[in-house]
Symmetry: C2
Subunit: 458 residues, 2 copies
């Protein structure tokens, strides 16, 4: 049987995008400005340059350029693992007996195992171009740390990774992977920073959080003027780099005259989702499509579905700029039983704005349902998904089953942002029946909300 | 910069081979026949059907068909992960400053992480087509067991995997992966079989061996006439299925008018190497090329370089048919410090014959040199190789450096048979300096040789 549309659609190397797409340029109303953490005034590029590389700082505040050219030095890095395949989920469609056509953009074919490499490369490249010698960052589930370790190995930069302690204990092989690429990995909270020591003093058994690891990494990066901080999600320049996902997906669909009716992505800090949907949101804003966009988050960290839309810090120590975003408060801690990533308290400001404007739907899923979907998917499609990515699978399956009920032949696109090879502890817990879901109470939420500062931005 | 040859060459889905290539049909003298383990007479298809599925038995003895059509039900499975990329090692070439062009066929993009899936699919498919309900097999490093777990999950068959105990302890996540796909994993030697109990009685602390695990799996498979045994390497029908690697690699090179001067593969039982080189050996046999073929094996299990060419059993209990092959003796045990796979005592009979006829070169590498090569490779090419595959990388680097010395612009092709995501224990040992090499003494070899039966085959 010859298929009109192959199972895997690959772009040719010379069809790869040579510029990132900046959705902010096409938004009729822009997100509220980022604020300085002390003055509460809109932050300047110069302010940001104290934290980020100069080019990252420029891109972070750039709301005008629709396209930002990708330098040859980054394209050279991208060609080591891109273009990534767009896969038609023939096996899953058959298993679901759905009239829907399901496609997924698979970002897990590189060794870091996820889309994070798309921004790790540029961030390391700019740092090297600007004469920096080292970088500091945090990692939760380990995907971002692995990606930065690979990028710093490639570009020849030193890297310190503050890894959320509970994650470093659950995933010793993630640590080994980062070390194999030459990175230094420090479980967080640690006694190597003020921020870490403060948390440990309050709670010696703290398993850590992304907010705390960010505080530690930022503090560490300030120790040398040859060092800067890099972040794997949430920020606008990260989402900009991730637009390569959506641009490639759109180019591959365009080859076959396809246009998605629904675009789905898992959402932690939002970079994968934002990168995937960006060019499709542009079409909708231009009146060229009526596509729906769905963010899927864990029920144990429901930033979009239960968070507040407010100015908040990106870290627990309150050292980052303030962002207007959906947030659970930097003091929020997901339940200890929560297995995967997607445990960040906030959400990229652009996505938060789209959600607030009614352009982005959101749903929260309990983890058992997510692992059910992952197992169903892996048995027919073959690929073992990252628990994070399995949130998107869950929603894609639900939408495809809805099509079976309604008889509609919709085109569903979702982001399979990474693989679960380093998440076997979670899969073992699921397989053995040890995994549970604990409902998040309003009291738990209020504890997080209490940490949101009272800043209006006016 | 536009490259004439892209970094990754993908065949289109409809360019995938629809038949396997059977090298035996083109060999001027055939390998000596397989012998029945009791009568020592050439084995018949009927004999083999007691162990293998009928089609596997037929293919095992088929020396006439040059091409064996791949059924649509197997192509359907292949399309879930094939075609695999042929990658131009631009980054490695640059790092080595070599005039050589290096290409590698990368079989690690599927979840099982290696080429083993190419034969797991067909073996499960034939079993299901013939009405069998379950399969039993062994696994060493875990790649074959993972591949069979995926294939049995896909085709709906029960699977028992006897996993070499030392490997199951080093790689708990491999076990979890197999269980996620629904397989039952039993550390070997176990008390569930006669063969296992005999080994445990002699040595309660035995860490196991492939030869022992094969004995256990074969014994288990004989308990039901709805069950058969499947093997991931060594046998001719396995090498036949793996010819898909070489056929795709050749088709991709042909697109750019390229012909390899040297083809390199790691060698355990020989299926990956044999599958990769088969169509290129055919060209050499036909006088169309002067390509060299290099098998790379671990110094701690040097089957081709230090083994005997003799009839031997495939397992420790002496229950398999006898094969004329290079062998260290089924009683051979690699040193406990040996980290990776490639620990089988014998070598596929076709490859053993090619080696004996002077067509296949062989070299043995100590593991520290292999991990050095792996680390060098991963830092520039990005991909974390399986320790097994890193043997091929070592030889490819050596040949490319030889080209730098000689100034020759050779075309080198090697097989990157899999990824090392489940081998982080070994990488951690290497990174920390805990990994060692222990020279294999002639006395150790003699112990293995003592287990080779005195069978002439006349």
């Amino acid at each position: 049987m010859k298929r009109r549309i192959p199972t895997r659609i690959y772009l040719a190397e010379d069809e790869m995008p040579d510029a990132w797409y900046n959705l902010r340029a096409d938004m009729p109303t822009k997100p509220a400005p980022m604020l300085h953490p002390q003055t509460f005034k809109p932050i300047t590029e110069e302010d940001l340059r104290a934290i980020l590389s100069a080019e990252a700082a420029r891109q972070e505040l750039d709301e005008e350029s629709r396209f930002v050219p990708i330098p040859e030095g980054i394209l050279d890095f991208y060609r080591a693992f891109r273009p990534s395949p767009l896969i038609r989920a023939y096996y899953l469609e058959k298993a679901l007996d759905t009239p829907a056509e399901i496609y997924y953009k698979f970002e897990g074919t590189n060794t870091s195992g996820s889309h994070k490499l798309n921004s790790a490369g540029p961030q390391a490249f700019y740092a090297r171009e600007e004469g920096l010698s080292s970088l500091a960052t945090e990692t939760g589930a380990g995907q971002w740390g692995s990606a930065m370790a690979m990028a710093c190995g490639f570009y020849g930069l030193d890297l310190s990774v503050y890894m959320v302690k509970v994650s470093s204990e659950q995933k010793p092989y993630r640590k080994a992977l980062m070390e194999s690429y030459g990175a230094r990995v420090i479980p967080s909270p640690s006694d190597t920073t003020e921020a870490g020591r403060r948390i440990l003093a309050a709670n010696p058994d703290s398993g850590g959080s992304l907010g705390c690891a960010i505080s530690e990494a930022m503090e560490a990066s300030r120790r040398s003027d040859k060092c800067r901080y890099v972040l794997g999600s949430v920020l606008n320049h990260v989402m900009l780099h991730q637009s390569v996902i959506g641009l490639e997906a759109k180019a591959a669909l365009d080859k076959y005259g396809l246009r998605p009716d629904i675009v789905i992505g898992c959402a932690g800090g939002g970079s994968n989702l934002g990168g995937l949907i960006a060019p499709f949101v542009a079409e909708r804003l231009a009146g060229k499509s009526a596509a729906r966009f769905i963010a899927v988050e864990p029920a144990s960290c429901p930033t979009l579905t239960r968070g507040r839309y407010a100015y908040d810090f990106g870290d627990t120590a309150g050292t980052t700029p303030l962002m207007m975003m959906r947030t659970l408060g930097a003091g929020f801690m997901p339940a200890p039983g929560h297995a995967g990533g997607l445990r960040y308290h906030g959400m990229n400001p652009v996505l938060s704005k789209l959600h607030n404007d009614g352009l982005l739907e959101a749903r929260a899923e309990p983890q058992l349902a997510v692992f059910d979907a992952a197992t169903r998917f892996m048995k027919c499609e073959g690929i073992l998904p990252a628990p994070e990515s399995a949130h998107a699978i869950k929603a894609a399956i639900d939408e495809a089953l809805e099509c079976r009920r309604s008889g509609e032949k919709k085109t569903i696109l979702f982001g399979l942002s990474g693989t679960g090879y380093f998440d076997m502890t979670a899969y073992t817990a699921y397989n053995s029946g040890a995994m549970t879901d604990k409902a998040l109470s309003d009291e738990d939420l209020e504890k997080g909300f209490a940490s949101i500062p009272a800043v209006s931005g006016d």
